[in-house]
Symmetry: C2
Subunit: 424 residues, 2 copies
Amino acid sequence: MSILIKNVLVGGKERDIYIEGNLIDTISDAGSSNEGVREADFVIEGRRKAAIPGLFNGHTHAAMTLLRGYADDMPLHEWLSTKIWPLEAKMTEGDVYWGTKLACLEMIKSGTTFFNDMYWYWEGSARAVSESGIRAMLSAVFIDGFDEGTAKEQIRRNEALYEGSKKLSERIIFALGPHALYTVSKESLCWVKEFSEKHNLLVHIHVSETGEEVEECIKRYGMRPVEFLDEIEFLSTRTIACHCVYLSRKEMELLRKHDVKIVHNPTSNMKLAAGRMLYEELKKAGLYSNIALGTDGCASNNNLDMFEEMKVASLVHKAGSGDPTNMPAQEAFELATINAAKVFRLNSGVIAEGKLADIVLLDLKKVELVPNHNLTSNIVYSANGSCVDTVLCDGEILMEGRKVEGEEELTERAEEVAYELVDR
Amino acid sequence: MSILIKNVLVGGKERDIYIEGNLIDTISDAGSSNEGVREADFVIEGRRKAAIPGLFNGHTHAAMTLLRGYADDMPLHEWLSTKIWPLEAKMTEGDVYWGTKLACLEMIKSGTTFFNDMYWYWEGSARAVSESGIRAMLSAVFIDGFDEGTAKEQIRRNEALYEGSKKLSERIIFALGPHALYTVSKESLCWVKEFSEKHNLLVHIHVSETGEEVEECIKRYGMRPVEFLDEIEFLSTRTIACHCVYLSRKEMELLRKHDVKIVHNPTSNMKLAAGRMLYEELKKAGLYSNIALGTDGCASNNNLDMFEEMKVASLVHKAGSGDPTNMPAQEAFELATINAAKVFRLNSGVIAEGKLADIVLLDLKKVELVPNHNLTSNIVYSANGSCVDTVLCDGEILMEGRKVEGEEELTERAEEVAYELVDR
């Protein structure tokens, strides 16, 4: 299929974007394509709209959207042990499927075309992603609780999931998901490392989200988390380290040395009072283009709106460093687009010929985008997900005029599933 | 006119809200009003919607919406002196009118029915507010630059504006707006105090927004800002002190003693790296119900979305105090509703019989509000302004089904005005 987006703002100029299959084929001055030979199967009028790359949500647990608002304003450990874990223990693959469907809908409606997920019941998530049309990197939570038998099960399960994933759409990318240093044994981490190397898979892991986690690691292994991961040769260009709130200078240097990727989750870190990732220090350490941005799960955010996440990121680092020039709008935008594309090894994150047709059209008539003195500033500091009018992913139209096919039925069913889960 | 909102969620139950004139007359169980004798002139179907009080924006400079995205990511003084002040010097009453019209539209579309403003060209703002149907407290910026002649002019101007305001709609409330201690002389502050006492007017003032301001005050007067305001007997239950980022324990006690009201502007304070208002300390000092929430102007936020402001407020205090239970959702919501109603002496801020019909209906089918385990949590942590479906202010319907009369023409004209201003 081919799609022509006519008269749309790209980098401040009106352009025509011609999409062939799942790629951006040509970008030309608006109107010039009318004279050309090509007729598109489908035409989108882009006047008073701006085309930006689909946003990347670098770290989430999509199915937890079922738990939105279920437990807030609690101390971290009490929140996990009395609210989140008991419910997760009761979850089924069907719950994960519906929770992920709901999350995919929310992401599409707020201009996100890719997310990096870690959750239980991988197949449930994969089925939801497949149906939604969005792009995702999915990892199964790998927790062995330092138990050898569990570790073996987890390894077998991941081998099977990886094999199975080869049959799925290219939109669904299998990754390994060792949960964290306090839940996964050294032996399993070593297996993950070898399997990831052998099959060239990305590895999604929580690193130094809280101060307690760092202390626990020092007690267990006699060194800080990143030092330990370096020691066991776990770190590589394929490692996606989420949170990274508590890093020493030496740990930052190790991340740089191994070209490790980082996902920053400012809203979740603030809501759980986990701490602030030292963005300006990571930049100084040469890690800027390795950093992506994520919302974390809906139980600790409580939405998946990457526009909001860009703003909160910029605000928390300006306030935290006392420097209002810290993380300017352009950087926040890059964390959610071009940097993330590098982190997740995708041929996207920018509107350019030859790139994946993962495209978001913003409605420039929305009051939050008026006046348009500076589009990037408006995107980061003023917009929210509702400014998105149209979403394409992999050359398919997932939303047009804010309408997604079947959304009412989906939200109704997901809501029933959520209530049934908490009443179970 | 009478309006019946049928089958709408109020406090978790389906109700009928009967509005007579500008007041909520009756709230009854859904359906029971059908049997009654009353027929409303206008009926709104409220099924799958929730009624909440219209939100209060406690501190803004509405016309600055024209400068949205015009200058960001700059040090505070450079931002003011090279970008904001030069443009403000060129502004006309027409600009202020269009900027305020744009702001009113944005506020209506995001569920705000009251705002507390301080800006130039009072009549321009008043005309915009009058036409928009929203409720506002408007003060003219009072700056004398410590010059006696200017002070006299400002006083005459304020006396005239106050007289003129008596002829306007009750929706428009005149307040005094002495800008700050570093821009207004002691003599003028004393005049403000007397005039406010005589006519029972609220006084809108910036207090201790930055550390520099406090130092300057100590240099000029030998004491901290609130101490000085106490010394000259300026403080009263009518004082609305905005920002209050830098307060000593003693100053908090003085605010409590005089029942001073406080408006907190977390996004603006973060964006300009001004500092964090010590919310938990103010609560301890007994000032909780005196605190309202505001966005500040669009040049330092850069939107007027009070849903976003509630979330940012809660996040910054959880993160800043290291306590995830700090400012729970219910408190953030109260700062933007019932507390604000007390601060601004309005008979509203809650959905109850006899209160002003300033009502917002949320669309519970919006994906951000699904599932609805806890509506207050969803409002504060997940929603944004686009979850608002219908807005009533003073018993008039300002928006229904997200449509505001004339909004396209308004945004187009305001955008032209904004571009003309920066090119002037």
